[in-house]
Structures are given as structure tokens and as C-alpha cells.
Symmetry: C2
Subunit: 205 residues, 2 copies
């Protein structure tokens, strides 16, 4: 009996993700989700207190994915290289794509949900710190040029901005979200980092 419930819960989440990605969280109603899952609205509300609760459930899933991705990436004991960075970018973009409604609506969602604002801010700070830390290590290893704190901050923000919004940029540009166009974001990141490379190491890439 318990097992069936867990599955239904999961199916609601997966269906909601699919519909939200297609039409947005405001357009898609709890009734739509229930219908698409093939259950009654009442049943949906047995598993989730509210629509907001569904969204937060999806975010739990997303965080899980992100956590696993980080483990996978770090456990590879990857060397400090452009390839490593680009690989990370691709992994992150896969998550961004799977939950694309989220980044797409991020500013709006945050604006209308203080709890979400706090929640995202935490992830944001962690990721930004990790990114910055990576860059500092690259710099100390002599791969990137020496930068002061302000320059490091700016570089981190720049990279994170591209990672966060690249899919959105593709969407509004009318470009299809294809492997090739996602690759373009990867190229962009490489260009950004290459421009900070030591002249002595730059020819190697």
C-alpha cells in the first residue's frame, strides 16, 4: 500500500515537471496535472498540500540531481583543465534542461515565494563559492593569470550568469535547444576562461 503511494507521488512530480516545462507553472493547474497523471484532483491533494508544495517537491528532486552530479564530477578526480570545466558545464546544462521551467521562471517564482527566495539564495551562494574557489585554484596552479579579489568576483559572476541563463538565452533568441546550441554555451565559457589564461599556457588549448 505504501509503495503505490510513493509511486503516485513520483508520477505527479514527473508529470508536473513535464507540463511546467511546456506551459509554465501559472498556466498549468493542479487539475491539468491530475488529469495528465490519470488521477483525480482529490487524490493529488492527498499527496500534496498545495501547488506550491508540488513545486518545492520538484526542487527537492532537482537538488538531489545536482548533489549526485557534483559527486559524480568530483569523484572522477578530474585534473585542472578546460575539458573538466566544459564537462561540468554540460552536466549542469542537462539538469537545467530537465527542470528548465525553474530557471525560466526563477525571478518570478522567487518574487512570489519568500521561502523559495531563501532556498535558492543558499544554492546560489554555494555554487558561486565553488566556482570562485575553482578559479582561485586554477590561478594558483598557474593556469590562470593572477587576479585580485574584485576581478575574481567578476569572473565568477560572469561564468555563473552564463551557466544560469544560457538556456533562457537560446529560448528567447528563437534558437532551438539542440546539442549544438548548448555546445555554443560551452564554447562561450571556454572563451571567457581562455581570455584569463596565462599567455604561456594559452597555446596548449
Amino acid at each position: 500500500m505504501m509503495k503505490k503511494s510513493v509511486n503516485t507521488r513520483r508520477r505527479i512530480l514527473e508529470t508536473a515537471i513535464r507540463l511546467f516545462n511546456g506551459k509554465g507553472t501559472k498556466t498549468v493547474t493542479t487539475n491539468h496535472i491530475a488529469a495528465a497523471v490519470g488521477i483525480s484532483p482529490g487524490n493529488l491533494y492527498y499527496h500534496f498540500r498545495s501547488k506550491k508544495d508540488i513545486i518545492h517537491g520538484i526542487l527537492d528532486l532537482m537538488d538531489e540531481c545536482g548533489f549526485e552530479a557534483i559527486k559524480r564530477i568530483e569523484s572522477k578526480n578530474a585534473p585542472l583543465s578546460l575539458e573538466t570545466i566544459e564537462h561540468k558545464f554540460r552536466v549542469i546544462q542537462e539538469i537545467n534542461w530537465r527542470f528548465r521551467f525553474f530557471k525560466r521562471e526563477l525571478p518570478s517564482l522567487i518574487m512570489n515565494d519568500p521561502a523559495l527566495k531563501v532556498r535558492f539564495k543558499k544554492s546560489h551562494d554555494v555554487i558561486l563559492f565553488m566556482l570562485r574557489d575553482s578559479m582561485v585554484r586554477y590561478s594558483e596552479a598557474g593556469l590562470l593569470m593572477k587576479m585580485n579579489d574584485g576581478e575574481m568576483d567578476l569572473l565568477s559572476h560572469e561564468l555563473w550568469l552564463v551557466i544560469l541563463f544560457w538556456l533562457n538565452y537560446l529560448e528567447i533568441s528563437g534558437m532551438k535547444v539542440t546539442k549544438k546550441n548548448i555546445e555554443m554555451g560551452s564554447n562561450l565559457l571556454r572563451e571567457i576562461i581562455k581570455s584569463k589564461m596565462m599567455a604561456t599556457t594559452r597555446h596548449k588549448v
Copy 2:
């Protein structure tokens, strides 16, 4: 009699902008707008066919602002310099700020309104072309390093991405949208362009 109508129309638009900026286009209803203007819902629908019509009316206003801004900027006969670029960025950010609901919801709005998608795509192409053209001229003038077409494209996309999403980035980062933080976006643009400058000209800035 005609005059009063024009004023009401304008008041509806200005009020809608304010409310949309604060709570988003989905949360703010036509009733909210009418109440905030101090008119009846029926009267609002005398001036606008639909809610979508209001949004498009706002965009007409925005385009007007953009057009005037471009005239202002170009008429100054500005020299090719970093300062000119940063000045342009600030002018654009003022418009982005005044109509901030738009860029904030851009991917969602486009998704649910095909006419808007076409409309924005046109602006997008024009601006991207202008940006690219600027960069090519800077390059030909010997201020920027020589780049091939692909590199030029990537640089243009990068600059446009930052311009488009910088305010969004501030919002989701939990940073206040202050003059100082907007300035940070300006700094970022400068860093991006500086990294493409000729070694011989770089020291001048």
C-alpha cells in the same frame, strides 16, 4: 473628450507597468489594475481589448523609449571608446529597469504568446546586429584584436546576454538593484571587452 480618454489609457499603462514590475503579469489581474487606476473594470476594457493587449501596449511604449535612447546615444557622435560602450549600457539598463517585468518574464511571455515571440525576435536580431557591427568597427579601428566570424558571434552573444539578464541576475542573487550593482554589470562588460583589446591599446584604459 478625446483627451481624457488618452490620459486614461496612459494611466492604465503606467499603472500596469508598476504593478507588473512589483508582482508579475500573472499575479496582477485586470481588476487589480483598474482598482489601482481608480476606474471600473468595464472602463479598462473600453480602452483595451484584453490583458494581452495591455502588455503589447506597454511594449509599444518600451520600443518608443528604446528608439529615443538610440537616437540620443548616436546623435552624440560618440567616439569609439570604452566609455561610449559603458554609457550605452547604462542607458539600456535604465529602460530594462523601468520595464523590468518584461525581461524578467521574457521566456514565459514568449512561450505563451506567439505574436510576442515574433515581435521580440525582430528587436533581438536588430540589436544583436548593431552590437556585432559595433564590435567589427572597433576591430577595424584597431581597438579590438582581429577575430574570425565565429569569435565575433560569440562575443556579441556574450555581451547581449549580460545586457539582457544582468538585472535578473541581481534579483535572483538577492542583491539590491542599486546604482552600484548595476555599475557592476557595466564593469563586467568592460572586462569582457578589455580581454579582447589589442595589447597595445589595453594600457590606455
